[in-house]
């Protein structure tokens, strides 16, 4: 399935899609989007790249196994969930930074939590798809 057109397009599409997935992730709190959808879009980007350039290329570009994103994401989410303990609030209590950061908006534990979800979804989806496509 390696065609020149798809190859050429995917070289541009991969960064754009990844950027788009991060955009979806960040705007989730106010507008449609969020970590889950963002993660799915990002994994589609990689899958598209794998279709165009071959799995070996995509994996070498990633440098590490996508499975490692899962524990990383779980750590993010878990830390976000327990961080309120440090200020004496119950589990999952949302903590927000005062003030705005341009582009990102407000920064708080829900966002970190969502980033964790984003990473887990990418890791899980890519692990499953890569594993199945590698099997003979």
């Amino acid at each position: 399935m390696q065609t020149t057109i798809l190859k050429a397009a995917s070289n541009f599409l991969l960064p754009v899609l990844l950027l788009f997935s991060i955009f979806i992730l960040l705007r989730g709190h106010y507008l449609p989007g969020g970590g889950f959808i963002g993660g799915l879009i990002a994994s589609s980007a990689f899958v598209l790249d794998a279709f165009a350039n071959g799995l070996v290329y995509t994996k070498s570009m990633l440098r590490f196994h996508p499975g490692f994103l899962m524990p990383l994401g779980l750590t993010f989410s878990f830390l976000a969930a327990i961080s309120p303990f440090f200020v004496g609030k119950p589990l999952m209590h949302a903590l927000w930074m005062k003030g705005h950061i341009p582009v990102i908006g407000k920064l708080g534990t829900p966002l970190i939590f969502d980033i964790g979800v984003y990473l887990v979804v990418i890791g899980a989806a890519l692990t499953i798809i890569f594993t199945i496509s590698e099997s003979r």
Binding site: G28, L31, I37, L40, R136
Partner: protein
């Protein structure tokens, strides 16, 4: 005191990392320091305990459920604690030589120290729930200890049987504990014991009584639960020594002792203990005659001894309780040393078959002397502590109010056979001529011959000077039962009927030892009867269960995915259909079909077309693509009805699903039609019915007035409480964040599962 309980667990965890060090440097003897330290620590409280003091330690654990790590050291726990740590010290010491160079020596010590810690926790804890946890821990750790030789099938099986029986007892204990907690309003053992009336007057009293005795019976191997104990002889000898002389099986006795004050005077309690204790001691005492394996003989004599203890607690007079307390110590001393001696014989000669052992005194004189003294303690020959114990037992049956003759007869009968058992194990292998097969036997290591020697010397010295332990025997009796001026322990009671009974016991026992030789004929006789033994019954029951569950499983799990799906759907159709058919009344006029817009109709037509195409097409790829169309149409519907988040997710998920399907299908062989047309028709009807039912349910739901409280709450508070405008996302990451956290964990596990399954398969195939 907390550290005493926890240090065993700590050590066993540490051994995971340092085990090799101890193994390679041959330093395992050093581990004896742990039980020895605990023993010394406990002994340091000796003075206080003797004066009747009780030492408490409070540590809150789960206060909301009234579960605490409260410990209490009183006379009773002190007595048991001494046995656990004392015998533990000797067993630790002995093991370092017995299992020298064993591949899993570190593991063994790890289990052993964990077991010891659990036992100590059990006798020290002052909270019913905590006690239950330690009780279960002893069952679990003993499972590992009994099944230590895990390459042998019989060893694994007996470990499983032991776990099954003692685990069953654990359930009874939990049930009893909860009911006691309900009646008394507290789980604190001290409080329950200080106000036993609360439990006694409660409505669950009989039930509690039955549950607690059942828990004790399973743990203490009372008939008909006794059979796990002989099976547990598969364990290495140090384990048998530890579990069956001083710890595991005594846990049940401890439980009965501890809660006796609550049940005292209840007919049910006394009768249960008396009957089961008596049956157990007679049943297993008589079994001793038919055994030829040293450890098997000891196993049955252990059960008989436990029967005597339960029987004595059932009698419940001051004399009987004193007798029980003394007998616990006596039994621990002689049974542990006899087990250790049997272990030495096994270790040096490689056999435990009594018919093949004789004349060993030429090779190991010190062990012979030890064995004879141990047998003397077991047989109650003066001036050993065993004699005092036996006298007290006869006193308590003889001075009881009812059926004196019968009870005394039972006690004498059992004691005669215990006398016989002691001498068969402790003396018989050493007397007679040394067979040629045993001429190469070596003297055992000092590390192995010392522990039993220490114990028998203790049994002898304490018999002559019983004053040493008198305070420790009377402390639990006065504290727990409230009896005052407990009988002084003395070796000479004057001429009385009791002395006659003792003499008769010794006389008949000696005659039995001299005339009755254990042989295979006797063993063959008993094995014929095993068809109706409880062990056989349990095995039959197990096999029956296995057969039924195998049949049941094969009925559903036939390996065809379509079969699984069809079964699940059929079940739902039946269960939902039943409700829907009886409650369905649809007012079609209400349904606003005329409000349908053009694009909605168009989407439905596309979906229908795609579904029909999926069913009829002969190409897998086309079917997958058609299914994808259905999915994308769904996301459009979501979009129309104002759920952009859902639409986006559905869209991405569907994209990835189609890709996954393509990846999988790419590797499959060409499309083959394997199912029969009839089956396809059946499945088609089933799916149509299911679809219709779901539609009916949705229509019914729509007729109900909509409850908007929940969605309004989220809508109103998303921005105010969670500072977000996208309600869906706020629910996901904030309101119901824990759900999401668990979901992503599940996602991780699922994908690891896929990874593991496929990668492992590839690897195992590559190997071939």
């Amino acid at each position: 005191m907390l550290i005493v309980v926890l240090i065993g667990f700590l050590l066993s965890a540490l051994l995971l990392f340092t085990g090799n060090f101890f193994k390679e440097k041959k330093l395992s003897t050093l581990l004896t320091i742990l039980p020895l330290g605990i023993l010394i620590y406990l002994l340091s409280f000796g003075q206080k305990i003797a004066q009747g003091e009780v030492i408490y330690l409070h540590y809150e654990w789960i206060p909301a459920f009234d579960v605490s790590l409260n410990f209490r050291l009183d006379g009773l726990s002190f007595l048991f604690g001494l046995l656990i740590s004392g015998i533990g010290t000797l067993v630790f010491f002995y093991t370092s030589s017995y299992l020298k160079g064993h591949h899993f020596l570190d593991r063994f010590y790890s289990y052993l120290s964990m077991f010891m810690a659990a036992m100590l926790g059990l006798v020290l804890s002052d909270n019913l729930i905590t006690m239950f946890i330690f009780w279960e821990l002893t069952s679990i750790t003993s499972f590992f200890l009994i099944g230590f030789n895990n390459e042998s099938q019989s060893s694994r099986k007996s470990a499983l049987v032991a776990l099954g029986i003692t685990g069953l007892g654990g359930f009874f204990l939990l049930a009893g504990a909860v009911l006691i907690g309900e009646s008394a309003g507290t789980y604190s053992i001290s409080q329950i014991l200080s106000d036993p009336e609360a439990v006694r007057s409660g409505s669950y009293f009989s039930l509690i009584c039955i549950f607690m005795t059942l828990a004790a019976f399973t743990k203490s191997a009372q008939f008909p639960f006794h059979f796990w104990l002989p099976g547990a002889m598969q364990a290495p000898t140090p384990v048998s020594t530890y579990l069956h002389s001083a710890t595991m099986v005594k846990a049940g006795v401890y439980l009965l002792f501890r809660f006796s004050p609550v049940f005292e005077g209840s007919h049910l309690w006394h009768e249960l203990l008396l009957i089961f204790g008596a049956v157990t001691m007679i049943y297993s005492a008589y079994h001793i005659i038919f055994r030829i394996d040293l450890k098997s003989i000891l196993a049955y004599s252990t059960i008989a001894a436990l029967g005597i203890l339960v029987f004595l607690i059932g009698i419940g007079t001051k004399m009987a309780i004193t007798a029980a307390a003394v007998f616990i110590v006596v039994h621990a001393l002689y049974k542990a040393s006899l087990f250790l001696i049997a272990g030495i014989i096994d270790h040096e000669t490689g056999t435990r078959d009594i018919t093949r052992l004789s004349g060993l005194r030429h090779k190991m004189m010190p062990i012979f002397i030890t064995g004879v003294i141990a047998a003397a303690i077991s047989g109650g020959i003066p001036p050993t502590l065993g004699f005092i114990g036996k006298e007290l037992i006869y006193e308590s049956t003889y001075h009881f109010t009812e059926s004196v003759v019968f009870l005394t007869f039972l006690a004498i009968f059992t004691k005669i056979l215990l006398f016989y058992a002691g001498f068969v194990v402790g003396m018989k292998p050493f007397t007679g001529k040394l067979p040629a097969a045993l001429s190469e036997v070596h003297k055992p290591d000092i590390k192995m011959s010392l522990p039993p020697a220490i114990m028998v010397i203790l049994g002898l010295v304490l018999g002559i000077f019983p004053g040493f332990i008198e305070d420790f025997i009377s402390a639990p009796i006065t504290q727990t039962f409230g009896f005052t001026d407990v009988e002084h322990l003395k070796i000479w009671h004057g001429f009385s009927e009791i002395l006659v009974f003792s003499m008769v016991t010794i006389l008949i026992g000696t005659i039995m030892y001299l005339t009755l030789k254990p042989n295979y004929k006797l063993k063959g006789f008993i094995s014929k009867l095993e068809v109706i033994s409880p062990l056989q019954l349990m095995n039959d029951l197990n096999q029956g269960f296995e057969k039924i569950s195998g049949w049941w499983t094969n009925l559903f799990q036939n390996g065809y995915l379509r079969h699984y799906v069809a079964t699940c759907v059929l079940f739902m159709v039946i269960s939902i259909g039943y409700v829907v058919v009886f409650n369905f009344n649809l007012d079609l006029a209400d349904q606003a079909f005329h409000q349908l817009t053009f694009h909605e109709v168009a989407i439905i037509v596309i979906m229908l077309g795609a579904v029909i195409f999926t069913v009829v097409t002969r190409s897998r790829l086309a079917a997958v693509v058609a299914m994808g169309i259905v999915g994308f149409s769904f996301s459009l519907i979501f979009l129309f009805y104002g759920a952009p988040d859902l639409a986006m997710t559905q869209f991405s998920v569907d994209t990835l699903t189609v890709i996954l399907f393509v990846l999988v299908l790419y590797k499959l062989p060409k499309y083959l039609k394997l199912t029969k047309n009839v089956l396809r028709l059946e499945h088609g009807i089933l799916s149509l019915t299911f679809g219709t039912l779901v539609s009916m349910i949705i229509l019914m739901v729509l007729q109900q007035p909509v409850q908007k409280e929940v969605s309004e709450y989220y809508g109103d508070n998303a921005y105010l409480l969670a500072k977000g405008k996208n309600v869906v996302n706020v629910i996901l990451v904030d309101f119901r964040g824990i759900d999401t956290l668990i979901e992503v964990s599940v996602l991780t596990v699922a994908s690891l599962g896929v990874f593991g399954l496929i990668k492992l398969r590839i690897r195992s195939r590559d190997k071939k």
